[in-house]
């Protein structure tokens, strides 16, 4: 019985072939008839007999039926990848620890987050393995990491599970699976994720384990946050993303926060009610607060007593942080005009380094080597793609990587990609261009704004760097007087720099520069204090892997505040999860030799059975022929 207990299927979905095949076989036998064929003089009278209907007839199949049923069972078991857990079974366990796994599910009395459920499942899997098995545990977020440092015993792998925490990042499941599958060391890959497997994408070595915790639920999250300095003070704007099945009311609270004696002190500044509907985004602007405040916390509060209450399945995305002191990175402006000419200096939290086109041409490395967050090429196009994220604004001439057509007047926007981050908060229907140039999107980019004459703007990624081409000029930056181009400019800076420092915070995982003579950095998230390890070199900057308020203490007891946030609408979307598509990479011969799967045995048995069936059928055919000749 132990031996039976150690059996399993790597692709159990294929077992559905068995009932389907059996049903088809029964139907075929019913259609074909259960008795043997007998030649009669005529069926003139037999035809008139009342015959029982197919379904009601007693089914008494010949022995051959059982033989063929066995064949189908063997083939189904082979396709399902029957394996025996035992010596030589090497299992990779991939645990999705992305942000969406923070979703709390289960009944009221037994609520736990999806990651805890996945860890429990992984633990039970490891306990079911024989001691001779070898297991490697991986986590997916923020990147694929082996927690066991190679194959370990199930007990060691079990201990490694304790170290898994929610990662602030996306799951990267497809690439993680591809990477693990490319390793011939593993016989099986068990994936524990809240994302379902795409149909027909399963591979014989891959097994998806789902749990009842991975069911759709409701969630409200802060989608983005920004801070703007105006004459009236500091204006905080919050975008709330809702993933709800019905209308609900929430309260968005703005608090001023400060660090006192290594403790976070919060003072409520304002609150704003909001009504959220289905899957939507709601932008809330708080009234200006005095510029003396140094940092803020924004929280979304649900009121269970009010009408339209819901269970917010992820609480971690209900909080966001802002710091007035956050420092943004430098952005290279390659243009004939300086940042002052283009009024870019009025953009808070962004520093522009002006480089003339001839200077850039003489030494393009200065942009590439110096750690600029991004480069803006204004009315100028470099000959080669720069090695930094860049925008080509109102290019005069084309280059090797995209084509620019002649200048045209009165261009009207006909289509735009609403969901693209560059077009956040923008309604392009009112956008009119007196003059502009039509661009030809390069193959690696997608058109994000089109006019009736052609592409006006494109965006794309090459080697992890982002490039944007705009057929119209955004500058000078005129703030509120030209709201559309100003918001576009801010979106562009945010998109290119991958940094939200310009709006008062750093994203999780980004490297934030440290001031000189730092002695300690602590992270405060409202529930506790964590002292972060300082980098060996101050210039390297500090990376925070979780959101919160950073207190950077320098010599002289000066404390600077920095904010770290994590926003990802895909991860916060608890209503829908995109299925995981697995590329079926064929295994090498070397892998096959190592694998202790029973599928090989099954394949041999099935092949032998097929040959036997063929011989049997030929024998029967010959016999019936002989009988016919004799008759």
């Amino acid at each position: 019985m132990n031996w039976l207990g150690s059996l399993g299927f790597s692709s159990p979905l294929w077992l559905s072939l068995l009932p389907l095949g059996a049903a088809a076989l029964v139907y075929a036998y019913l259609r074909k008839g259960q008795g043997k064929q007998i030649v009669v003089g005529t069926v003139l009278l037999l035809r008139s007999l009342k015959r029982p209907v197919l379904a009601r007839r007693k089914f008494r199949p010949p022995p051959r039926f059982y033989f063929e049923l066995l064949l189908i069972a063997l083939l189904a078991a082979g396709a399902a990848g029957l394996y025996r857990q035992g010596a030589g079974t090497r299992v990779a366990v991939l645990i999705d620890n992305s942000f969406s796994m923070a979703k709390i599910a289960g009944s009221d009395g037994n609520r736990s987050d999806s990651l805890a459920v996945a860890i429990r499942d992984a633990a039970s899997l490891m306990q079911s393995l024989s001691a001779l098995s070898r297991v490697a545990v991986f986590q997916t977020s923020p990147q694929l990491v082996s927690l066991t440092q190679g194959l370990q015993s199930p007990d060691a792998a079990l201990r490694a599970l304790a170290g898994i925490q929610i990662g602030y990042g996306s799951d990267n499941l497809e690439s993680a699976v591809a990477k693990i599958l490319s390793n011939p060391e593993f016989d099986r890959l068990v994936i524990l994720s809240d994302r379902p497997a795409a149909p027909f994408s399963s591979q014989d070595r891959v097994e998806f384990r789902s749990s009842e915790a991975f069911v759709p639920s409701e969630n409200v999250a802060i989608g983005s946050i920004s801070l703007e300095r105006s004459s009236k003070g500091l204006e905080v704007r919050v975008e709330i993303s809702s993933f709800l099945q019905k209308e609900a009311r929430v309260r968005v609270v703005l608090e001023s926060v400060r660090i006192q004696d290594r403790e976070l002190k919060a003072t409520r500044v304002a609150e704003h009610p909001a009504v959220l509907r289905g899957i939507s985004r709601e932008t809330i602007s708080f009234p200006p607060v005095p510029p003396s405040e140094r940092a803020f916390r924004v929280r979304v509060e649900t009121d269970p007593s009010s009408l339209g209450s819901f269970f917010d399945s992820i609480r971690r995305d209900d909080v966001a942080w802002l710091s007035v002191e956050a420092e943004g990175g430098r952005i290279a402006l390659v243009s004939q005009f300086s940042s002052a000419d283009l009024k870019l200096d009025s953009i808070p939290f962004a520093t522009f380094a002006h480089i003339r086109p001839e200077q850039y041409e003489a030494n393009p490395e200065q942009v590439h080597s110096q750690e600029y967050l991004a480069a803006l090429f204004h009315r100028y196009t470099p000959t080669i793609l720069p090695e930094v994220s860049a925008a080509f604004i109102a290019p005069v001439d084309g280059s090797a990587f995209f084509e620019v057509r002649g200048e045209m007047g009165r261009l009207e926007v006909s289509r735009w990609r609403e969901t693209h981050p560059l077009l956040n908060y923008l309604n392009m229907s009112s956008f009119r261009l007196e003059q502009g140039r039509i661009l030809v999107s390069p193959p690696w980019a997608e058109t994000i704004i089109s006019s009736t004459q052609g592409t006006l703007a494109f965006a794309g990624e090459v080697s992890g760097r982002k490039y944007v081409g705009l057929g119209f000029d955004l500058f000078p930056y005129e703030g509120k007087r030209a709201a559309l181009t100003s918001i576009f400019t801010l979106n562009l800076l945010k998109y290119l720099s991958e940094s939200e420092a310009s709006v008062g915070y750093q994203p999780v995982g980004s490297r934030s520069p440290l001031p000189p003579r730092v002695i300690e950095v602590t992270r405060h998230d409202g529930s506790g204090v964590e002292t972060l390890a300082l980098p060996k070199e101050e210039q390297a900057g500090l990376v925070s892997v979780a959101p919160g308020l950073l207190a950077i203490r320098t010599k002289g007891d000066d404390v600077k505040l920095g904010a770290v946030n994590f926003f990802d609408s895909k991860e916060s979307n608890t209503l829908q999860a995109a299925p995981v598509v697995i590329d079926s990479a064929p295994r090498t011969n070397e892998d096959r030799e190592d694998v202790d799967l029973l599928t090989t045995t099954i394949a041999v048995i099935a092949a032998a059975a097929l040959v036997l069936d063929l011989i049997l059928r030929l024998g029967l055919l010959r016999r019936s022929r002989r009988e016919g000749e004799a008759a």
Binding site: G35, Q37, V39, V40, G41, T42, V43, L45, L49
Partner: protein, 293 residues
């Protein structure tokens, strides 16, 4: 050679029989059947006035004495009878082979041939599409006839009705026609064949040969697929006692229909079983048709 089933005692019994027709048919040579032709014979037919050229020996002098007029006596001439044996050559006669319906039909044909040839009648055996013998005459011809009939082997003809119509169209001599078949065919086909035979001025008799499997089909197999030997049509069957009873009723109904159809066309009919002894069939069943006496 005659088949082994034709024992000397059976042959002796057969020699006592004679093919019988309900009407007189013109023959081509002298025989043992009364012909409508007036001429030499034993049976007195009529008187007619003497005409020049009549043989004075046929003058009835008694009538002359009474009436003072010359009258001659006419006699019915006795001529041979033309016998056509039409064998059903459809596949149902050959299947199932164990029933030996075809063999029995051939034996009947040979027996009728023996009787006819012994009585100086002409006989032709025709299995449409497979066999058509010449009109045999004289006792010695029985061996030729037997050899020819026994030489027929399956496969059977594709469309018996078409072949039968073609064969009947070639009939030249009126006489007796004996149709030997299992009659397991649609009534329209039987009606069509009988009408064609009647159109050739033939006195028709029908002999139905049924095998044990025609009466109890698929015996020993409750579940089977019956394959029609003629059309290849397959019928899946589960023959329980109820179905068998139903089949017996269907067969009876069919036979009654066939019988009524034949009677309405003036065809004499008898049913024989293929597993019955040949002597019983010939001596007891065939005379019931009135074909033999």
């Amino acid at each position: 050679m005659l088949p082994e089933s034709f024992t000397p005692s059976l042959l002796r019994q057969l020699e006592l029989f004679k093919i019988r027709s309900r009407r007189a048919f013109l023959g081509t040579r002298q025989g043992g059947h009364i012909s409508p032709k007036r001429g030499h014979g034993i049976e007195f037919s009529d008187y007619r006035r003497y005409e020049l050229g009549d043989n004075p020996r046929h003058i009835d002098w008694g009538v002359y004495a009474r009436s003072d007029r010359l009258y001659v006596k006419t006699f019915q001439e006795e001529q041979e009878l033309s016998v056509l044996v039409l064998l059903d050559s459809s596949a149902s006669m050959f299947q199932p082979s164990l029933d030996k319906k075809w063999e029995r039909a051939c034996e009947i044909a040979i027996a009728l041939g023996y009787v006819a040839l012994m009585e100086q009648d002409m006989i032709c055996v025709c299995a449409p599409g497979l066999l058509r013998t010449p009109f045999y005459y004289g006792a010695r011809a029985i061996h030729h006839l037997s050899a020819e009939v026994l030489s027929v082997k399956p496969p059977a003809v594709g469309d018996f009705l078409v072949e039968a119509q073609r064969a009947i169209n070639r009939v030249r001599f009126p006489g007796v026609a004996i149709f030997v078949s299992d009659f397991l065919m649609p009534s329209e086909h039987i009606g069509s064949i009988v009408t064609s035979l009647r159109a050739k001025n033939l006195d028709i008799a029908a002999i139905q040969v049924l095998g044990p499997h025609d009466i109890q089909p698929l015996s020993g197999n409750e579940d089977a697929i019956a394959v029609d030997s003629e059309t290849g049509e397959q019928i899946e069957l589960s023959l329980g006692p109820r179905q068998r009873e139903e089949y017996a009723l269907l067969l009876e109904k069919h036979n009654t229909q066939v019988q009524e159809l034949l009677h309405s066309n003036g065809v004499r009919f008898v049913q024989v079983r293929s597993d019955a002894a040949l002597a019983d069939v010939v001596v007891q069943n065939l005379p019931m048709t009135g074909v033999l006496r």
